[in-house]
């Protein structure tokens, strides 16, 4: 075909409607196929913000330990909106949208700190710790001129305040009016795993990491719901037996499929029927300084790793002795931030504290394990872009959504999309 034919064809063709305006049809009647447009379509992203992040679900905000005293605040991002969590005068935690009721300016610019009030820098509208509008300059005008209308009611113009709930030091909030308590929202099974780490002991924040990853936010969730990849991609995990599919494992979900856990037990560095299939397994690689992998049992039961994914924005990481909240902050259809808050317990021994700092070498943007994941997500999105009409295959372990006592399955990804489809109306 020469170029003149191409032009003629183009002239005669009816221009298709923009892709994002055509009806989006899920490629199958289940969730073992995921259409690529869920990772690229800006209209889908907007719908996610409304229906997932801006609706009645409980979203992770921060740890109570980050704001222990009255006036302490911490900024956080829930979906693509920014909030400030602040400890009020009564000791309660308020979660306020970081937007002045006047001209929508952000009223809080520090990530973390302590204050008596929030003052908008633009026109100095001043808000209390519960978001109530305390005052504004020239409300009554000047020498009888100007000012706000007589019927202006300050109590109607506070910072938007979210519904808030807490459990064992973890703060959640919702833009809507949640119709379930957090405990019901998580379900008994997930609550059990949650309470395993958050057992009521005081927490200590050890520090932050944050990375900006050029991929859709859902790929992060899928990554932590996919134990199949861990045995193949993560040479470091596999070699040292931290997470490998020949070890006793489980993938479990709540009744809706929206939350999940991957559970496993540490194994040894040995060549066997399973590791022989893993190109990743290196029988001869050993660490010179063994302190990097010196895990100590600290939780009841024999699981040594529990990775919990809580809809819609949180991963609770317990890998050996590293504990972290990984908060997912979607920025647009093809970009998200992963915000890590590492923590320990107030009663940790100095040795345990040191162990947590060392094992953090496996996690974060330079993590000897999680580095593989951020790079993999970049490559996933690069393969998805431009291939909107193709689908991803999620059939390992069958097509159903069931809890499984092994790792050779993508069941938790299917569970996620089962719930996603119902919420998104897709």
């Amino acid at each position: 075909m020469d170029s003149s034919t191409l032009l003629a064809t183009a002239d005669n063709a009816v221009e298709p409607a923009p892709r994002s305006q055509t009806a989006r049809a899920w490629p199958d009647d289940g969730c073992s196929r995921v259409p690529n447009w869920v990772y690229t379509d800006p209209d889908i992203f907007v719908r996610e913000q409304n229906r997932i992040f801006g609706a009645n679900d409980w979203l992770y905000v921060c740890l109570e330990a980050e704001i222990p005293s009255q006036g302490d605040f911490k900024r956080s991002q829930l979906g693509n909106r920014e909030v400030v969590a602040v400890r009020g005068g009564d000791g309660a935690i308020n979660v306020l949208v970081n937007r002045c009721a006047h001209r929508s300016m952000q009223v809080c610019t520090a990530n973390r700190g302590s204050t008596k009030e929030f003052v908008c820098p633009y026109h100095q509208w001043t808000y209390g710790l519960a978001g109530d509008l305390l005052g504004l300059p020239f409300r009554r005008g000047y020498r009888g001129q100007g000012g706000m209308p007589a019927d202006f009611r300050p109590e109607e113009h506070g910072l938007q305040r979210l519904a808030v709930t807490q459990r064992h030091g973890v703060v959640f909030a919702s833009f809507g009016a949640p119709n379930e308590a957090l405990e019901t929202y998580l379900g008994d099974r997930m609550l059990g795993y949650f309470d395993r780490v958050f057992d009521g002991r005081d927490l200590v924040v050890l520090g932050y990491m944050r990375q900006r990853i050029p991929s859709n936010w859902k790929l992060m969730f899928e990554n932590i719901k996919d134990p199949y990849h861990a045995s193949l991609l993560h040479v470091f995990l596999v070699t040292f037996g931290l997470f490998r599919l020949d070890q006793q494992s489980a993938v479990e979900m709540d009744d809706t499929g929206r939350h999940a856990v991957l559970v496993s037990r540490k194994g040894v560095q040995e060549t066997n029927e399973a590791t022989a299939q893993m190109r990743a397994f290196k029988a001869n690689f050993s660490l010179r300084d063994k302190r990097l992998l010196d895990p100590v049992r600290e939780f009841p039961g024999d699981a040594t790793v529990v990775m919990q994914t809580l809809w819609p924005n949180l991963i609770v990481q317990q890998q050996s002795n590293t504990l972290a909240m990984r908060q997912i902050v979607p920025l647009d259809a093809q970009k998200f931030d992963l915000a890590w808050t590492f923590f320990g317990y107030a009663d940790d021994s100095p040795e345990m504290r040191q162990r947590r700092l060392r094992q953090a070498n496996l996690m974060g943007p330079a993590g000897l394990v999680s580095l593989d994941d951020s790079e993999a997500m970049l490559l996933s999105q690069a393969g998805i872009d431009g291939n909107d009409e193709e689908t991803c295959l999620v059939e390992m372990g069958g097509r159903a959504v069931t809890n499984e006592p092994h790792m050779v399955t993508e069941t938790a990804i299917r569970g996620f999309y089962q719930h996603y489809r119902s919420v998104m109306g897709l």
Binding site: R210, Q211, I213, F285, L292, P365
Partner: protein
């Protein structure tokens, strides 16, 4: 280049040896010769990469945290043998180091760094910038880092930090 804080009298030959150390560090990493990198540290040592946010708040978590030369070697071997990452060139420009003090434990210096990352099919971009806080010691006649804290200014790392800072 090594500058000295006001009032600090530093012999020219010591300055020259420090320049050699800083130059060797930059060259090892800019040339992708990671195996040379641990040799520039004393043993034990402390090598940390952390966001300024953590440093300023006294929070101990670092994205890279090594306490011995062996841990540095382990990281290099892990990067070579186990990690998956797209090919990249990371080039650092290090400012003149400023010798702040000379104490019994060694020489305290600071310097600024800028890291530029180039990946396939993308223009070069500023990746991280920040400052080194160093403790340099005479280790059997050779100057080495006993401590190197790499404190980056941003809270955010673009995608992944593959190579040491």
């Amino acid at each position: 280049m090594i500058a000295a804080a006001p009032g600090l009298d530093v012999a020219l030959d010591l300055r020259a040896r420090l320049v050699d150390l800083y130059c060797a560090y930059d060259n090892a990493l800019n040339d992708g010769d990671l195996e040379r990198w641990p040799e520039l540290f004393a043993d034990p040592c402390l090598y940390k990469v952390m966001p300024r946010e953590n440093y300023d708040q006294g929070l101990p978590i670092a994205v890279i945290y090594c306490e011995s030369r062996d841990m540095l070697v382990d990281r290099v071997v892990a990067l070579r043998e186990t990690a998956l990452y797209a090919p990249r060139i990371v080039r650092r420009i290090t400012s003149a180091a400023c010798l702040r003090s000379i104490g019994e434990d060694g020489l305290r210096l600071t310097a600024n760094f800028a890291l530029f990352q180039t990946t396939q099919d993308r223009p070069s971009e500023v990746f991280l910038c920040g400052r080194y806080q160093d403790l340099v010691v005479d280790d059997g006649g050779v100057l080495r880092f006993a401590e190197r804290l790499c404190i980056y200014d941003s809270t955010i790392v673009p995608t992944s930090l593959v190579y040491p800072v």
